[in-house]
């Protein structure tokens, strides 16, 4: 089933009045370019070009879609529109904003703010490679998620779920804003009917209900992913995926090992968000935000000798993450 990826448009191409400078990224749904608008402003231009369904030889403009791929192509286009629609309704500094949407070359393009900076994933990896006790500082984590949760509240208020929150989709701009990207998986909660294609998910960040076809998705699903992001910021690595956790859960042990490095409150909030049972998690971003913002004084508990021995034994038994 492997086939060559469709070719990106070369630098210098002009689409819809936007001048392509270079390719920034390519994902399952398409290609993102750095481009300049007619006023010479930088923008990010996202082209709908699903790698598995469309073909484009280099030098061509319009992608070709085989007739048998057309239904899926059109279905994907629907999701692309949904992303556009979600983003268009939300005007919030923590949610990437969409500036224009147009049709050309027999496909569609979404124009977004071009953000300069790095993803949270880049930050976590850099920090973790320093091999310090703390991956990110607690105050950094708290202020970062304070912003993210403000944005997510707005998203949920619009009856939408992000469904693919992960450090790679959280962008930290050079002027120090946290912005959520990639609403490609975003779905309106209300249009449950006909929701045939389950959103793709990222292991480690996807809640257990994302793996089940009948699982009820809700704000709690995004909240699980937030918990997993908190975990990654403290631990440096993503948590085990939900099926592994259901089989054998090491979350509590790993979090316990981080006591005294991070405050009890932050660890507890992470644990709360990442409860396998959706009902045991914060049921709304509001509830979570309140808990995270309300920080009286940070309490750090040290491990008792018994706890430490228990943990050491655990890690000797292997597979310590």
């Amino acid at each position: 089933m492997s086939k060559p990826k469709p070719a990106a448009l070369p630098a210098g191409t002009v689409v819809g009045g936007y001048h392509i400078v270079r390719k920034l990224a390519a994902g399952g749904f398409g290609v993102v370019y750095l481009a300049q608008d007619p006023q010479q402003q930088w923008v990010a231009l996202k082209e709908y070009l699903p790698a598995s369904l469309a073909e484009r030889a280099s030098g061509e403009l319009a992608p070709r879609v085989k007739p048998d791929k057309l239904p899926l192509y059109r279905l994907g286009l629907k999701s692309f529109f949904e992303e556009g629609r979600s983003l268009a309704q939300i005007a919030h500094p923590s949610v990437v904003s969409v500036l224009n949407f147009f049709r050309e070359n027999e496909t569609v393009y979404m124009v977004m703010n071009y953000l300069q900076g790095d993803t949270l994933q880049d930050f976590v990896i850099t920090a973790r490679d320093l091999k310090r006790e703390k991956v990110l500082r607690e105050s950094t984590i708290r202020s970062l998620f304070d912003e993210i949760l403000r944005g997510l509240r707005i998203v949920h208020q619009h009856k939408m779920l992000h469904l693919d929150i992960k450090p790679a989709n959280i962008f930290i701009t050079n002027d120090n804003r946290a912005v959520m990207l990639d609403f490609g998986a975003a779905r309106e909660v209300l249009t449950k009917e006909g929701d045939f294609v389950r959103p793709m998910y990222t292991p480690g960040f996807a809640a257990p209900e994302m793996y089940r076809r009948d699982g009820a998705l809700g704000p709690w699903t995004d909240i699980y992913a937030i918990g997993a992001c908190l975990y990654a910021c403290m631990h440096g690595y993503p948590p085990s995926d939900a099926p592994t956790r259901i089989d054998k859960d090491r979350l509590d042990a790993t979090l316990a090992r981080m006591r005294s490095t991070y405050s009890d409150n932050l660890l507890e909030v992470t644990q709360w968000c990442m409860a396998l049972d959706p009902l045991s998690r914060p049921q709304s971003v509001f509830a979570l935000h309140k808990e995270l913002a309300h920080e009286s004084e940070r309490r750090y508990s040290t491990l008792s000798l018994a706890d430490r021995i228990k943990l050491q034994l655990e890690s000797l038994k292997g597979g310590a993450r």
Partner: protein
């Protein structure tokens, strides 16, 4: 579970394509199916579509992630499709029921099982040789089988007349096959009679064994259509190449691997809720209106 797959369906010289094909899979199990809606009865394409839809829905319900009993599952799913067709006809007070053939196979645990009703076929080819193909539920096939038992044959019969199918008044006959343990490089073909009625078995086998699936399948279908001429039948082929039970490395492209995927429901969309040109234009307009509204709002704050 790793396999290659290529599927192709062409209308040929007919007004409509009443063939349907599709597959769905979890990480542990895959279902592949072809259905050929029958002419001479109402709404052949609806029948084929419903058969596939029912197969996919049953699979989606039961494969968690593998099927406990693949054979029973296939039989039940085909029977469920049959009942769906009867119900469809009753609800709409149709004089006749839409009918379809269907062939479906399940691959899991490196083993293939199949079930079919009618004359859509399954071929299994190993090392360039035909390992097995299904026996059609047609009078000609019956006569051929009987003549092998040295029973004096009667008049040559029309090959296309089936004695069972889904949606027929009597309970359909469902034949099952397998299990066969797959080896790397084994190729399976599910096809409608548009393909096998115009090509000889040897041609299908050699065509399927040579080249990649992406080249072999279109070549077979094109050849069948060419020979079928101006009145060529709907021709559908879905081919699978078995690679390995375990993927060597998980795909980095966070796309699938673990997820459930299906082409069948998506192809349902073509008939019901596909986006047409007007929808696309309207969506773009709505999005731009929303952008404008958000910007004014932001401008004010």
């Amino acid at each position: 579970m790793r396999f290659g797959l290529y599927q192709l369906s062409r209308k040929g010289g007919r007004a409509k394509n009443e063939d349907r094909m599709g597959y769905c899979y979890t990480r542990a199990s895959g279902l592949f199916a072809v259905a050929d809606g029958m002419g001479g009865h109402p709404e052949g394409e609806v029948a084929a579509q419903m058969a596939l839809q029912t197969l996919a829905a049953s699979f989606q319900r039961d494969a968690r992630p593998a099927l406990a009993q693949p054979v029973a599952h296939l039989e039940d799913a085909l029977l469920a499709a049959h009942h769906q067709l009867l119900r469809y006809a009753t609800e709409r007070a149709l004089i006749d029921t839409p009918r379809t053939t269907a062939v479906a196979c399940v691959i899991q645990n490196q083993t293939v099982h199949w079930a079919y009703c009618g004359d859509s076929r399954l071929y299994l080819v190993r090392h360039g040789r035909l390992l097995v193909h299904t026996r059609d539920h047609s009078y000609s096939q019956l006569q051929e089988s009987l003549s092998r038992l040295a029973v004096p044959g009667g008049q040559p019969v029309n090959r296309s007349v089936l004695f069972t199918c889904l949606g027929s008044p009597g309970r359909p006959i469902i034949d099952i096959g397998g299990p066969i343990t797959l080896q790397t490089g084994d190729r399976l073909l599910l096809c409608s009679d548009g393909l096998w009625a115009t090509l000889k078995d040897e041609e299908i086998v050699s065509g399927l064994s040579q080249r990649t699936l992406a080249e072999a399948v279109p070549a077979l279908v094109d050849e069948a259509l060419r020979r079928g001429g101006a009145r060529a039948d709907n021709t559908t082929a879905l081919a699978i190449e078995w690679e390995a039970q375990h993927a060597a490395t998980p795909a980095r492209d966070d796309l699938d691997d673990d997820s459930f995927a299906s082409t069948i429901q998506a192809s349902l969309e073509t008939d019901s809720v596909a986006l047409d040109e007007a929808d696309i234009e309207r969506s773009i307009r709505e999005i731009n209106e929303a952008i404008a509204r958000s910007h004014t709002r932001r401008g004010r704050t």
